[in-house]
């Protein structure tokens, strides 16, 4: 039973729902923290997206925004700190330790919980990435506080509580969740759900350095190796500028080639709706929607996708949504910007060809290479 799966939402006046005065030990919890996810020298963009959101929350609360950087001693870690400032942090908490060179649950959980217990933030945000989800669950349980997963909207209530809104029932409804009597209030947000804030040339802020009180022999889990994904397996759907996706309307697994052809012709990533993954037509990392990837492309072309609400949640951030579907009553036409009621199987090859004609020969060569 998760937060989002109660048979009926508890009435606001229920015992647990009643807002009591915050226990004394939590009264000194202040400020908004964003975990800056650093892995193998790279900051995950979701951390900067969260700083944009964290900035708004901190401003509403009249508190400071901090980035939390956990990494090995060296340039990459300080680069992440600089990134946190550039995207809006007032200060950074940093733990530099060789044990934090690669993600492992034990040292990262220890590092984060130590920081929270020492510096007491009222809000802690993490990306709902593989790393972020692994870490957030451990940290929240260690601190015995609330954690709301995969939020699509964060706000501060009139009394200063964090109002975390997330999809429920597979995306068909939204619910707003509070962590009333515990601190910090924790939430995760998926990549691309929040817009990337503008990078500023703000001068560097304060840095508070902390130590990891751990030695390698305290850590049971050892890293034996790392096998990077092959280039072809790296679907960068979430951050693609143009995405083409297919749904059940394509009728047969062979017709997915039409989607891939169009994507190749215009340098787009391709994806699909959930039923196709369930049928085994496409791997799960190409799935777009509430249980798959959230995308925010400049152009999204949905071919043969009816547009169930769980799909809508994943594509709403797109600048321009084009829907191709034979059913004029398909829900996708309720949230697409441009619609064509036609058979995607016949239309996609024509669209691929037309795009190819429009694009400069130079660019065609580039895409082909």
């Amino acid at each position: 039973m998760s937060t989002a799966n109660r048979e009926t939402p508890p009435p606001a006046a229920g015992r647990a729902g009643m807002k009591k005065e915050l226990p004394e030990r939590f009264k000194h919890y202040r400020h908004v923290w964003v975990f800056i996810e650093l892995e193998r020298g790279q900051v995950h963009p979701v951390s900067f997206e969260l700083l944009g959101e964290g900035r708004k929350l901190a401003d509403k609360l009249g508190v400071e925004l901090a980035g939390v950087v956990l990494g090995p001693p060296g340039e990459a870690t300080w680069h992440a700190v600089a990134g946190a400032f550039a995207y809006g942090a007032d200060l950074a908490y940093i733990i530099e330790d060789p044990l934090l060179a690669h993600y492992r649950n034990e040292p990262f959980t220890r590092a984060m919980t130590d920081l929270v217990n020492t510096y007491k933030p009222e809000i802690l945000l993490l990306g709902a990435t593989i790393l972020g989800r692994d870490l957030a669950g451990s940290v929240a349980t260690t601190l015995l506080t609330g954690l709301t997963a995969d939020c699509t909207e964060l706000d501060v209530d009139i009394d200063g509580s964090l109002a975390a809104t997330r999809p429920t029932f597979g995306g068909s409804l939204l619910c707003t969740i509070y962590t009333l009597n515990y601190r910090p209030q924790m939430a995760t947000v998926r990549p691309r759900v929040m817009a990337m804030p503008a990078r500023t040339d703000k001068p560097v802020g304060r840095v508070i350095q902390h130590k990891l009180f751990m030695a390698e022999q305290d850590i049971v889990t050892k890293i034996l190796g790392f096998l990077p994904d092959s280039q072809s397996a790296k679907a960068n759907l979430a951050y693609a500028d143009v995405v083409v996706a297919g749904g059940l309307g394509l009728g047969a697994v062979e017709n997915l080639q039409l989607v891939k052809n169009l994507a190749a012709a215009i340098g787009a990533e391709y994806g699909c709706s959930r039923p196709l993954v369930q049928k085994g037509w496409m791997p799960a990392d190409r799935q777009i929607g509430q249980t798959g990837k959230t995308i925010r492309p400049k152009l999204y072309i949905a071919a043969g996708i009816s547009g169930a609400i769980q799909h809508r949640v994943g594509v709403e951030g797109a600048d321009l949504i084009v829907a191709i579907n034979t059913d004029p009553n398909a829900p996708i036409f309720d949230f697409a910007h441009v619609g064509i009621v036609t058979d995607a199987i016949r239309f996609l090859p024509a669209l691929t060809e037309a795009f190819t004609r429009r694009l400069s020969p130079h660019n065609r060569d580039k895409l082909a290479s």
Binding site: D150, C175, R274, K298
Partner: protein, 283 residues
């Protein structure tokens, strides 16, 4: 070896509909299934048991009808099923759920032998939080291995386990120790068809049913709504977009004409896009 696997009975979310007028969930007649991600974990547990001998205990927390999910797990070949059910658990969030399940796992350990591995699915298809597995690990002080794509080896003698774990941009090869909690990635394997023997045994099996007290839970303030730091305050339907999609008229047009018209519309609405697609990086 003794393996405990946590499963959840969920509504088949593909079949949930929202009432178009009242915006309420229409659950009537929606079938329940074992959370699909849990089946990958169950299969992995069964394979390990078959390779190393031992027992698989399947555990769920839920209403009495969740017994159906347990019986299904028995037909796949699980050896024992435990249902944790009590009105005190109603309204549990992930923190309260991980508390109750961890207490039940501790009780399973006392009653049927300490588990070497606790399995959970990657996440559920209804809550989607992926928080309960890590929560249980922390509560029981188990080593935590999430998003495992492959269990490369288990050595019961040295108590070592090596796994391949999905991480951002690749696979981590990890060596850890038993006991541990593992969540399994989808597609890692395929659930077996149970044998006729399993089906017969499942039908006859007694399912162990524990209330909160039965599981040895003394502190009820950590359960259900009271034990849940998060509170759902509001449930609502997403706002409808003000206008529907601008429809391109398709009558009497060839796909080629239609494609040209669509592209013209795209570039009118997003002029920058034409620039990028046409002169990508060369402007």
């Amino acid at each position: 070896m003794h393996i405990v696997i946590c499963i959840k009975q969920v509504p088949d979310s593909a079949q949930i509909r929202v009432h178009p007028v009242t915006n309420t969930i229409m659950r009537q007649g929606v079938p329940t299934i074992i959370n699909p991600y849990d089946l990958f974990a169950l299969e992995e547990a069964l394979r390990l048991r078959d390779a190393h001998s031992g027992e698989v205990t399947v555990l769920t927390m839920g209403p009495p009808m969740a017994e159906d999910a347990l019986r299904k797990a028995l037909t796949y070949g699980a050896d024992r099923a435990v249902l944790l059910t009590d009105r005190y658990f109603a309204g549990s969030d992930t923190l309260a759920t991980s508390f109750a399940l961890s207490q039940a796992i501790a009780k399973i350990g006392e009653t049927f032998g300490k588990p070497d591995i606790v399995f959970a699915g990657k996440q559920t298809i209804d809550g989607d939080t992926a928080q309960v597995g890590p929560g249980i690990a922390k509560r029981l002080d188990l080593l935590q291995l999430t998003y495992v794509a492959k269990i490369a080896s288990v050595d019961l003698e040295s108590r070592e386990i090596t796994v391949e774990r999905r991480s951002e941009g690749g696979m981590q090869m990890l060596k850890s120790k038993l006991p541990c909690l593992i969540t399994i990635l989808e597609g890692s394997n395929e659930i077996r068809r149970g044998t006729l023997d399993d089906a017969l045994r499942a039908a006859r099996s007694e399912i162990v049913k524990w209330s909160a007290a039965g599981a040895g839970i003394e502190d009820l303030s950590k359960c259900g709504l009271r034990g849940s730091p998060t509170v759902v305050k509001r449930v609502f339907a997403p706002a409808a977009r003000a206008e529907k999609a601008a429809q391109i008229d398709v009558t009497d047009k060839t796909p080629r004409d239609l494609a040209d018209e669509l592209i013209a519309q795209i570039f009118t609405r997003q002029p920058a896009l034409e620039h990028e697609l046409a002169f990508d990086g060369e402007a």
